[in-house]
Symmetry: C2
């Protein structure tokens, strides 16, 4: 399904207006049913919907292991995902523990990774309407997804990694959006030790980051960046 739609509009340039064509990003409602009961409707970009479902289920502590899922059927046409699990209702409590050292990365390498990440989004460049998220091992970008919602973009990344049994504890997250407590918590739940953004972090995220020993890096722009918590994982040049 297309991520964007072509539309007609009036462009005004300060002097006069003229008709033009442009593309806007699509918002697609996906309703997830869990064992026949409606769980949630997500407004998302219609791509990688299976990964989004997996990512949502693990982020919300609904499943912990792939074996708990007996079937996932995504009907893209109808905007419905049917998930069947072994249990009628799961009551998994989130078990967060402080992040292990996991990885170390040179500041310059992180800046290079963010540059690669920032130029990856063709949809953003054409519409300005999506967020991106990625998983990296500190060398390369391993998984990359976009979505109209920054939570969905991250859930797609986490879902794909989960499906493919990728180890989380030595990876880092790149995100285009602000680092809120909700975004940070998704990473912490998976044991990911580092979250990096070109945008701002928020204070509740920093509090969680300090408690859970997660590295939070914000405002990675040009050659600059701010390291808020967990600075021991960033290798700076000697002064």
């Amino acid at each position: 399904m297309e991520l964007t739609r072509e539309i007609r509009l009036l462009k005004y340039d300060g002097e006069s207006s003229s008709e033009a064509a442009d593309i806007v990003v699509r918002e697609y409602p996906l309703t997830i049913f869990l064992n026949g009961e409606k769980l949630v409707t997500l407004l998302c970009s219609p791509e990688a919907l299976d990964f989004l479902v997996y990512g949502f289920l693990i982020s919300e502590n609904i499943i912990k292991d792939k074996k708990e899922i007996t079937a996932i059927n995504v009907n893209e046409e109808k905007g419905i995902a049917n998930v069947f699990t072994t249990q009628q209702k799961n009551n998994i409590t989130g078990s967060c523990s402080p992040a292990k050292e996991g990885l170390k990365i040179e500041a310059k390498k992180l800046i290079a990774l963010m540059k690669e990440f920032s130029t990856a989004s063709e949809v953003f460049q054409s519409t300005g309407g999506v967020h991106s998220a990625a998983l990296s091992d500190g060398k390369d970008i391993l998984i990359y997804h976009e979505d109209v919602g920054r939570h969905n973009a991250l859930d797609k990344v986490l879902g794909e990694a989960f499906v493919n049994n990728v180890l989380f504890t030595d990876k880092l997250i790149l995100t285009s959006g602000r680092i809120s407590s909700e975004i940070l918590t998704k990473a912490v739940k998976r044991g990911i030790p580092m979250v990096v953004s070109r945008s701002a972090p928020m204070d509740l995220a920093l509090q969680i980051g300090e408690e859970m020993n997660t590295t939070i890096v914000g405002f990675v722009r040009g050659n600059r960046m701010n390291v808020y918590t967990g600075g021991s994982r960033i290798l700076f040049d000697k002064p």
Copy 2:
């Protein structure tokens, strides 16, 4: 309560790192109880919480008239808002009808309004972490609020207008964030005929805008802007 918090961080400038102080925006959890039952927890900026509660209640169709509310008590310290209404449970269905003409505005005036709006946010300029929303009559900015969430910022504006019996149908909304279907729907429910943003609109919002005769203007930057729907309310210079 402070909207921001001072923190310590490491600033890296591409060559070396140094300790510095900076401020980050606070995320404050506010739990709304409706007649003693938990309704929702909003992550918001701790300011104008009463307006946020009113705005949330009208946006979610929980109340329609101020008279339905017998009491609202916001306990800022505990992060709790207790709302008591005349009915045990409301089942108001949203009654949206196409927007009336309401207002017309010159393109140049809209650009001037957006410039005024964009420079109003001191918190954004110091933290990069908040969204802004405003209500305007096409001449001045009448109500202005900021919040970590763009939905909350708009609900605060709508809530304050609602409390003060401001007529909605000849006003316009300015927002710093993208125009999603959820943002547009909040305006449509109040009968507001125009939503203007410096960011992108999304396609579901444009579909609703077309159906409801709402004017949607996006990418208002410098002297330029894109008019997506309801262009008859924008007065362009003669070519």
